[in-house]
Point group: D2
């Protein structure tokens, strides 16, 4: 991680690339990432998307905090799969901005996420 991100590091999330308005991150899933049904936990999939959202929305030099997010889970993920999330900027306003994040494993979309931030210094 370019900037210290303790929770992302604790759960194994790695930064792939960040540029103004976009970010890509990944996680190599392991047994400790699973839920009560034995699949990768929704909280990990969300956190991966949320880190892409955090890095993309904070890429303009203005502190941005998440206000609302929505997530759709399309397919279960098995421990052992590598999962990627990439964020794109749908709208960049003065005080609010919106990002869309696709979560993929093996080139297949497993989840999608939309998030809106409040830009604090604006």
């Amino acid at each position: 991680m370019t900037r210290e991100n303790p929770f992302a590091e604790h759960i194994g999330i790695e930064e792939v690339e960040v540029s103004p308005g976009t970010a890509e991150v990944k996680v190599q899933t392991k047994d400790y990432h699973t839920n009560i049904l034995g699949y990768v936990h929704g909280g990990l999939i969300y956190s991966l998307a949320d880190v892409a959202f955090e890095l993309a929305s904070n890429s303009h030099g203005v502190d941005a905090v998440g206000v609302t997010t929505s997530m759709q889970f399309h397919r279960a993920v098995k421990a052992g799969d590598t999962v990627m999330a990439s964020a794109t900027e749908t709208h960049l306003g003065k005080t609010l901005a919106t990002y869309h994040i696709l979560v993929e494993t093996n080139q297949q979309v497993v989840a999608s996420f939309t998030g809106t931030v409040y830009r604090m210094s604006s």
Copy 2:
């Protein structure tokens, strides 16, 4: 945790109470839960709500998987605070069910979450 929940345990989430259609969980936040701005990470707050959602929706003896969730973040949380999440059932249908989760710290609502599951064995 009554049922093994590796990801929840890895991030310090504890079960408080589960009964049919409801669940309450908590986390004692620590420095490793923080984000790039130094506050508790949205991924941890979401994961806490998501575990309450997972336990409440799987409390009827039918496997339930998350389909869509939406989350609103109202206040930043500081490392050191204890955060609680409690889930209630808004609608229980044959194949779909919806839960509303309130996330609180010091009796103050810090986030709210709504999630819909697909009930697999139904």
Copy 3:
């Protein structure tokens, strides 16, 4: 309607009660409210919830505009049913506020809605 609300009036929505932070509205559904499958259209159900959201969030004397909303549809509604929506304030901040709206017909929850506004004059 206490304040002129052309779209709400065009689709038959009536104000029941508005007080600081809350609002209740209703619609007597008719054949012109239906969708391609013959049920009441999701757009009408959403609009009913959205009017409750609009009236509750603008009840404090500060102009408020919708930023994000999420909606869950639990049951189909038939033309002829009276549908009620009531909004409560989950969080009132200086620049952002969140409302939760329940939509009911015959005392049964048919849909739920969560919305966040940006408060313009704040």
Copy 4:
């Protein structure tokens, strides 16, 4: 409208094109579409996106009903503007499918919408 859609017609929504998994619709906004602040009502913008969602999700010959939707409003729309909404399919499963809808006026994104349907005959 290729299929009778009473609510869509009542509020002036027109079908532009529907093909398997996609749909495009539009509305020429008028004074009767406005809200208490004088802008085009969020309920109309949502309904436009929802009709694109309805037509795209019902384009495969299987009845589909909306389960959850989320919407982000980026810019206010003025009465008189023509507003377009186009739906694309993010995920098509056996019982659930997800669509992403962009709402534009004058080539500018004014809102975005994500919706998940339950496919009834599947």
